[in-house]
Symmetry: C2
């Protein structure tokens, strides 16, 4: 990445906070809808969000899961190209585009923060595409669990327990297969002793063994 060591100064951070509003969304609450005029960009303070695109044929493609520290809300032709929905209880910064563009005139380095975020997103999108196109769905799911285990808020490195913020349908919509397939492949991974389902949302991972699949 071009600007990996970049951080804002206190002054720049203050200026950004001054135009931001702290908002809260409970689980499953919609933040904005695809096609809506885009007025705000968001930064996650805590929680998790999914970005999804509804297609004519009824398919619902999830583009990304966003985590603490991530920004989202880019617009295309003035409107949001995807809907944003809170997966769990989520706290956000809401930043108006109009004020942000003015602020960048004064503090150009704030733009670098956005470039950095967008570059992060392109990396995530690359990994997502790789996952979603693995010929065998069991490999898609295995890779997905590894991705999730990178989120410190949802994975305990000591107990190896992953807490899934999303349900089976979200996973299926992210990886491009049917809901039932999520269950079947979780069972297959469990039979192979790569994971252990403690409850429907809590899964113990054997990251070593899972990585050996790749």
């Amino acid at each position: 990445m071009m600007f990996r060591d970049f951080t804002l100064t206190d002054k720049e951070r203050e200026a950004l906070n001054a135009i931001s509003t702290k908002i809260h969304k409970p689980a499953k609450r919609r933040i904005y809808t695809q096609g809506e005029a885009g007025k705000y960009v968001y930064r996650i303070r805590s929680g998790a969000v999914r970005l999804e695109h509804h297609l004519h044929d009824g398919r619902n493609q999830i583009f990304a899961f966003m985590w603490s520290g991530d920004m989202f809300g880019t617009i295309e032709d003035g409107v949001y190209p995807a809907s944003a929905i809170a997966l769990v209880d989520t706290y956000l910064f809401q930043i108006p585009y109009a004020a942000l563009l003015n602020l960048i005139e004064v503090h150009p380095r704030i733009q670098t923060l956005f470039l950095q975020q967008v570059l992060n997103y392109t990396q995530a999108a690359r990994r997502h595409l790789l996952l979603a196109t693995y010929p065998l769905v069991v490999k898609r799911l295995a890779g997905f669990l590894l991705e999730c285990s990178k989120q410190a808020d949802f994975y305990d490195r000591h107990t190896n327990i992953l807490t899934l913020a999303m349900d089976r349908r979200d996973i299926a919509d992210y990886l491009g297969f049917a809901v039932e397939t999520t269950s079947r492949m979780l069972k297959e991974l469990e039979d192979m002793r790569l994971i252990k389902r403690l409850s429907s949302q809590r899964i113990m991972l054997d990251r070593r063994k899972i990585m050996d699949m790749f």
Copy 2:
């Protein structure tokens, strides 16, 4: 997009040209290789390029096709995450990262050009994911042909003739199916009278009918 009306001033453009080298790559020539230390970013003057990622299991995933005006060569952890290969005879600007980062200090607006390019890429990546995850491969291919027809250099709006810069394998690697499937689905589209194959690289499109699929 945030900065759709953005253009450089003459002075900024000159400064950028001053650190750029014009280079040429014949068809099928490699520009850089995945894993290589990333020293340059590129802008296409004319031609076309594919960005591909080679996986352990032998699969070759194509992330994007890049066209005239597009920039590529982003790095992750100092190295290129994908290989870049010219599809046809291609002319490029080669811009050293070191000089570019210095130049941005002097002309901050040049960074906006990159932000704009990266945002363009995220849009393309979104459309790519949608295409590559359609449950029916014939729909993937149909959507792909529509995407290609947006490139004025390769699509004649009057005759409706599309010239494919890539071969069957490239298409398969981009859309996530087997090479043979490319042929079979082209035949299926031809049987449905949505396209007409003039030669292996030249295809007449009925864009109206193809769009009706979606």
